[in-house]
Symmetry: C2
Subunit: 207 residues, 2 copies
DNA sequence: ATTATATATGAACAACTGTTAATTTAATCT
DNA sequence: AGATTAAATTAACAGTTGTTCATATATAAT
């Protein structure tokens, strides 16, 4: 009961630690985000952290686990119903818009930063990136393109290649946006590029 | 004279420090690559580093300055001569092959890792990435595509958009390759993708 | 009201950080 | 040869790191 009260009034300490960690990891990276900085951000002493987490890595893993849990790999987000596929261009638009939404989502942006910062120093994140992000998206998209090809909606080609050609510019765009946002620079130019990419791509593959 | 002798026999200490730093920065990141680790890699004590560099940041800047000095922005690499443009597809192939070469170049790979690792924590590298890599490549490519459009070699579109569509998959590919290489995983699948991308792209834009 | 439990604190630890100073070693110049 | 200069070493510094422990405080259950 009191747990509920805590949650309502201030949010549980554990949640606060995760939020503070996410913020600091994404701004400073793992090594620079010290347990003391995290504790200070929460408003407690560093020793109190160890009541909620085994150690610093435990905190990081808890934060990092969120990276691949929610955003892209939800089977339901870019829906893959035959009805949708009969209007293939609008399906691609939907996929890109989902991607755009995630790109400009503050919380997801922090997770993306953590991912990018630690990608080259953490095998777990590398595997997650390739399996949960790249492979999953590629698989989903290539199924879509394969179906489109069979129905004669797009030109015949390697579905995996086509999926890659569709996904890469979206990722690059996301990276670009994230970089600009760090320095509070304008991203209005880039925000329209998601749609432009889909249009260009569709012009490239439609029969 | 004796300086020359040193260089011939062992390489100057300063050069050795830069090599060791490049290696460690790219493997561990700035913070984790301590001055003691760098000194140990060179084979001297940490205090001796300060005979050659002002401080740690001075070493990093010296290494980081190489990132944007050599690889892509050389005006001569992807040549932009009218003669080349009359065979547009082979020009794009050349550009992509240049990119592929850089991707699989051991030394350049280290610099790319440093860039990616510190990209989100170092404004200087962010600016360098956007100005020296992104903008420069985009500008060069969009001029090419603009010319191609005028000569009726490719379909009419926004040259900048087309440049982006051409560049993004190359970058994504490079990222992917670099990640696999960290874990010594095979990249044979990916090595053929550079050519496939150009073929797919050409099929997409040729009139 | 007393006990039990969860969570906070302050202090301390050993290890590591970047950097400096005094000193020794080695190479160069006259 | 001796003097000068460059580059190395040893030792120490003040700070920070992650983690632990004994203790205090507040909440929950009896």
């Amino acid at each position: 009961m009191s747990q509920n009260r805590d949650i309502v009034i201030t949010g549980s300490t554990k949640k606060k630690i995760l939020d503070a960690s996410m913020k600091l990891f994404s701004e400073l990276g793992y090594k620079n985000a010290s347990v003391r900085k995290i504790a200070a951000e929460v408003g407690i002493r560093e020793s109190a952290l160890y009541n909620h987490f085994k150690n610093k890595e435990d905190i990081f893993l808890s934060v990092a686990s969120e990276i691949f849990s929610t955003p892209f790999n939800k089977e339901d987000s870019p829906v893959l119903s035959p009805a949708q596929l009969s209007n293939p261009k609008s399906y691609l638009h939907k996929f890109a818009m989902e991607f755009k939404l995630i790109t400009f989502d503050k919380a997801k942006e922090s997770l993306f930063r953590i991912l990018m910062i630690e990608l080259f120093q953490n095998k777990q994140l590398r595997d997650g990136f390739i399996n949960e992000f790249h492979n999953k998206n590629m698989k989903a998209l290539s199924v879509v393109f394969f179906t489109m090809m069979q129905e004669g909606l797009v030109r015949s080609s390697d579905p995996l290649l086509m999926a890659n050609e569709f996904l890469s510019p979206l990722f690059y765009l996301r990276l670009h946006v994230t970089l600009l946002r760090i320095d509070n620079e304008s991203t209005t130019n880039l925000s329209t590029q998601f749609e432009k990419h889909v249009d260009f791509f569709w012009e490239s593959v439609k029969v």
